[in-house]
Amino acid sequence: MKRPMLEIAGLFKAFGENAILNGINLKVPTGELVFVIGPSGSGKSTMLRCCNRLEEPTSGAILIEGTDICGLGVDINAMRRKVGMVFQSFNLYPHLNVRSNVSLALRKVLKLPRAEADERSMAALDLVGLAQRADFFPSQISGGQQQRVAIARALALEPKVMLFDEPTSALDPELVGSVLAVMRDLKASGMTMLVVSHEMGFAREAADRVIFMDGGVIVEEGAPEAVFGAPKHERTQAFLSRVRG
């Protein structure tokens, strides 16, 4: 097995009395796509959000290329550049046009001059097929296009790992495909990805591994065919039969 790009080790997270994550251990090797499923409230988003410290872990370690991002003296803003995040609700900046949505962090975090930042933004937008929408505002493009801009915004920083939290759940069905296509390209280009989603079809073709979470722990993990085709655990079976209707 290749060296893990992302490693979650003994991750616990509680909100006050409420224990949400109860000891997660997960290694995502470089270039792999790990697909996360599980019932609502099982802690999937919380796990992802710990991976770039939008939530502080109660205990445990998150390692990117072997460096604990929760360690003392870690520059959290520099760490966050290595971890791109895509949200269910896109969260584009509505007051900025598409190009500026992508270039803001390039200019303010990487301190690139405007021309260079714009150039890199356009390259990132090109990757998601939206270079010709650079001057539009988020409200002027479709949800699927907005989500692709959000992906470009994260990619422009050249992250090591991309986290996706239900990236297509807020989209009309006809717009889902374009976002999945971008994610497929990303996987093909060698990006390390941790994806929470309900798109089982996508998981079957693109995921190296599927993990099923429930109650803040990983209940079952394996190859997509194994987890979807012959789930071993009762809770996995119940979940899968529920989502398949």
């Binding site: 966050r80 550049r81 969260n91 584009l92 962090a105 975090v109």
Partner: protein, 221 residues
């Protein structure tokens, strides 16, 4: 009827009082510029303070804002101008007016900004932070531009209040518009200068009030 016109709309008296009133208007404008600009900055300061993650910053900011919103501005002005000398702090009328109104006005602007910042969804902060922007950068480039846009009518409406507030400065004999008009009234034994002052306030503030209504309508669409 003629007597009434002569008392309230005496153009001869108005003409004579005009230079005095314009000098007063200039002072009013000076107070407004200082109080509005510093108030916008101070308000932003207390708004950020009242939303700070540390309670040692948050609580004092909230207490400050509450205090200066609760205390009547006239009381504050008289305290600053006539009360502080008992502590050996003697201020010019202009300085007293600016300080008193600035405290009052920063508190009001602060509440407006605060509401604006709270109107921005958590997702905006998270998206910005996830790209490595610092807290301060997130505020400056992502949250504030949207927040200010959302509360523009309230900021403007508060600004109208500031202009009205300046008329209180007459009680500390600061020669602003109302004070100048009242002086002219007492010299001429005629109310026309006060009517003229009222007209000047109206001419300045009416367009602003209309603008507030327009903004409010547009934002509510």
């Amino acid at each position: 009827m003629n007597q009434i016109l002569d008392q309230f709309l005496n153009f001869q008296v108005m003409g004579a009082a005009f230079p005095t009133l314009m000098a007063g208007l200039l002072t009013t404008a000076e107070i407004c510029v200082v109080v509005i600009l510093l108030g916008l900055a101070g308000g932003l300061g207390v708004a950020l303070g009242s939303l700070h993650s540390s309670r040692w910053v948050r609580w004092p900011s909230i207490v400050l804002v509450d205090f200066f919103r609760a205390i009547p501005p006239l009381v504050l002005l008289i305290f600053v101008y006539s009360g502080l000398p008992f502590a050996g702090i003697r201020l010019s009328p202009f300085a007293a007016v600016v300080i008193a109104f600035l405290l009052n006005n920063s508190a009001y602007y602060g509440e407006v900004y605060r509401a604006g910042i709270l109107s921005i969804g958590k997702g905006q902060f998270e998206a910005a932070r996830s790209t490595g922007l610092t807290r301060a950068q997130t505020m400056l480039y992502v949250v504030l531009p949207q927040a200010v846009r959302n509360v523009l009518p309230d900021l403007l409406s508060n600004t109208v209040e500031v202009v009205k507030l300046t008329s209180l400065a007459s009680v500390v004999s600061l020669g602003e518009l109302l004070y100048a008009a009242d002086m002219a009234r007492s010299v001429t034994y005629n109310a026309s200068p006060v009517v003229m002052a009222a007209a000047v306030y109206l001419v300045i503030l009416w367009p602003l009030v209309r603008l507030v209504s327009r903004f409010e309508r547009r934002l509510s669409l």
